[in-house]
Symmetry: C2
Subunit: 536 residues, 2 copies
């Protein structure tokens, strides 16, 4: 090792180790906070206690803090500019470890430094562009050796010059042990910083890193792994921690999901061992399930030989830093191929999916529309209705629905109109509405219709508003069926009034569906659902 | 599947299957030729027999041939322009299978089409550049939202526009099963086409594909695998086929190289299973071996516990298409780490390497210099020596060496000067010089000195002329020792007069050596060797 490298090592060793090792395994802010709380509660003399007791201690703690940040910043700079491989490994380690130790504020500061100070060199780009424009476009069919050579060379140089300097950091981290995982954490941080500081340089950093991650996480680089009860506990623990759709309640629950009549597949990357980036849970059933209860608590399980349907009932991504990178699409495609090969008798591939955005959308709609309706009512008494407001007005309910609703809820719930009554019913504590047969029979018809409308018609930038719907539709599924009281858990009732949806993957239509959805926003749905929507 | 996709499939199915399946596993021209010979000798009615018998048959064979090429060309076009994933897989298969079936000439034609017709769109690039130049450079420290947004967007667009259209084909193949292997074959083809058609567009295609391959074959994506006798025969077969340095003579020889006191490690990529991209063979020894005989035929092997040296005696790349991509550097580094961890008593990491370019260089030097010397001699009799010729003249031998040589060879070999005598000796049939004690004693001194000069001083563009020397020096090794009669095989005597060299990897110096070699061409060598060179 050379002197410069040694100096860097020495300097880094002198750094006070403020946060205990436990934070180093933390992947994101939340875990980091938890770890810090743990460390703090055990009492960490170096950093926290002095702060409370005297101003001298406080000053030195602040100083240490500032120095810690500067050291990480310096190691980041070296990681981008250094050229010696051996020292580089050390620097990349120091940088990533240092970064994990930083507070949220310091991570934010550092990410902004990266976005702005390690951007591309615009002066250099302009110089190359001028050179390039000085060249004569070669005529078609003429192969002028020298001229073409210059063209290709200048184009390559320009292409390279247009890569920001942080490209080097990303490339180096990608080939560094633990680096890909670090980049996922970094992107998760960037995304959460973007929520508060949505500035162009940060957006450019994010989109560049995202492009890189897409290349590195290409399906060819991922390994499809069937997760079973024989897998290491350290991996199964991840499944429990990251299951985002239907939380795993116990070891028994987990064992059941990996046992007879069930499958679980994950995508692993060789550089992030023992931690699937995304995983999917499957139930092998006779028919497409209508409620999640059937899937999670069918006891004893049916024989796999009788199964004709593979039901995807949960798909969870473990890396917030991979947001917007659709690994699920390839996972589903490969899993379908695998299951079909293993069990040719299975001919239906469907999901039983939550509708996470339905209630949020509906409650907002009811609130705003009921207000507009009231305003219009009071205005109409003075006969001076504003046309602007009326343009946005719609009665979410049909006349009949409103009548039924007001009738049924007369004793239990008040409201100035049907929409307000419905709003009050749906937001009443403990989802009382779902306990009353009389109310829920009426709400069922209304909610099912509005849910179909939400899934099939409500869009954002031409795509389905509901994120899960958007996910399956862009993968080529179609909306098959809505299921009433399919998820009676607190979460299910709050998110979607207990409704769940079956999307179906018909192998022959997948490509056509995906294409027409992505190009024109067309949502393919079963006839029943289309009729439901038209029923207004 | 949609109609267009179906049409493409149908059309491809109608293609006559000229070459049997056996060619599909072939990786490069040579194998392909062999396979075709096999197929031809078995008699293929469709394509070959009619050609010999009548002109109508000949015409239709030619037509078929032309059509075959056009179909591959069309599938290449679809592979670049298509947007439907399912159809895409089929097209990529058809394209790569079709490509493997093409003749050398047709592959060449197709590669030229790819290089020229799927280059970047220069008109589009110019448009974007004009847009870009119209933007005002943002002042330092000023964060003008809108302006910066436009900047980043235009830069990204320009970056994308500067990517040639064949980028799409490479990216798609990389994520396609078998595609990475195909890209390696494609690059091997490009490299061999470049030897005859060294044109700018082809060079640009090659350098772009090389950049891509470097990214995809980053060490993080490669798996280090210890190859043992327990590995599948299909993998071991590859080791036998690709061992480039010391051919494996028998199964017993192979078993020995994987047995006690020996190690073999390979780098595998998940997308090219069962076929290491590069592998290295190691002997665990007491001392740094001086001859390859000791390494290949030590019987019985010594105990591994007594070993203090790990000797790299062979490193072979299996993919001609990865030329210029240094995977060996990372392989050696990781193998050293692994061996050190497993066997801490091993403290010397050395090679026993061939010097493949030595004789070629020396014979050319002797021939040209002996001619120049003779010309000068005859000129000097007319006393009109040309200064231009004399500037290139040197006596390769010292006065003493020349005297000894002429003396010793008086009876066996003639020549007008020492250099010509030496040239004649070295090129005599069956390396007779090596059989004569008297001659070889004298040649030893001369050849060892000139070999040291060749390794330490002969450069090409600032790098060692010898490719193996260049490889180890850029990895950070130093030249340690020359070994006389270290490889007495026909190949060893022809390439390097039987001399082999030990390069040494000293862990503490690797980075410094690599850096000073790569930046200034400095070659680090043992003192003995440096003195040998100065002995002129």
């Amino acid at each position: 090792m050379n002197k410069k490298g040694l100096a860097i090592l020495m300097r880094t060793r002198m750094k006070p180790s403020i946060v205990a090792d436990s934070t180093k395994i933390s992947g994101n802010f939340i875990n980091n906070d938890v770890s810090k709380m743990l460390v703090n509660s055990e009492g960490n003399k170096n950093s926290n206690e002095p702060r409370k007791h005297n101003s001298v201690g406080k000053f030195s703690a602040l100083e240490n803090h500032q120095r810690g940040f500067e050291l990480v910043r310096e190691s980041m700079h070296s990681a981008i500019t250094m050229n010696k491989t051996e020292v580089l490994d050390t620097i990349l380690n120091k940088f990533s470890e240092g970064y994990y130790d930083l507070s949220i504020e310091d991570r934010c500061k550092l990410v902004l430094v990266l976005a702005k100070d390690y951007d591309l060199n615009r002066i250099h780009v302009r110089d190359l562009i001028k050179q390039y424009l000085g060249l004569q476009l070669p005529a078609d069919g003429v192969e002028d050796e020298g001229l073409l050579s210059t063209f290709y060379r200048t184009e390559r140089n320009l292409r390279h010059a247009l890569q920001p300097n942080y490209e080097v950091l990303f490339e180096r981290l990608n080939t560094h042990p633990g680096g890909l995982k670090f980049l996922c954490v970094l992107r998760a941080d960037i995304l959460s910083i973007l929520e508060e500081h949505n500035i162009p340089s940060l957006r450019a950093l994010d989109s560049y890193l995202k492009e890189k991650l897409i290349t590195w996480l290409s399906p060819a680089a991922l390994e499809l792994h069937q997760i079973t009860w024989d897998d290491p506990a350290s991996l199964l623990e991840k499944i429990v921690a990251y299951e985002a759709v239907h939380p795993i309640s116990s070891l028994l629950d987990l064992k059941r999901r990996l046992g007879v009549g069930r499958r679980c597949f994950g995508y692993l990357h060789p550089a992030i061992p023992g931690e699937p980036l995304i995983f999917i849970e499957i139930a092998l059933l006779k028919d497409v399930a209508q409620t999640i209860q059937e899937v999670l608590w069918d006891d004893p399980p049916m024989s796999e030989y009788d199964a004709t349907c593979a039901l995807f009932y949960s798909i969870s991504s473990t890396q917030p830093g991979l947001a917007g990178i659709n690994l699920g699409k390839f996972l589903i495609k490969r899993v379908i191929e695998l299951v079909k090969k293993d069990m040719p008798q299975i001919n239906t591939f469907a999901t039983l999916s939550p509708i996470p955005g339905f209630m949020k959308w509906l409650l907002a709609k009811l609130a705003s529309q009921s207000k507009l309706a009231e305003a219009a009512n009071s205005d109409s008494t003075c006969s001076s209705e504003e046309p602007a407001a009326s343009a946005f007005r719609e009665n979410v309910l049909t006349v009949e629905e409103e009548k039924e609703l007001l009738e049924a809820a007369r004793d239990s719930m008040s409201g100035r109109n049907g929409m307000e009554v419905m709003l009050n019913l749906l937001t009443s504590p403990n989802h009382e509405w779902s306990e009353s047969d009389q109310i829920s029979v009426i709400l069922k018809r209304i909610l099912m219709r509005l849910c179909a409308r939400y899934l099939l018609q409500e869009k954002k930038r031409g795509k389905a508003l509901d994120p899960v719907a958007n996910f399956h539709l862009q993968n080529g599924a179609m909306v098959e069926r809505l299921n009433w009281m399919a998820d009676k858990t607190e979460k299910g009732l709050s998110q979607s009034g207990g409704i769940m949806v079956n999307y179906i993957y018909r192998l022959n239509d997948i490509e056509e569906n995906a294409h027409s959805y992505l190009s024109s926003g067309r949502i393919n749905a079963a006839l029943d659902l289309q009729r439901l929507v038209e029923r207004t």
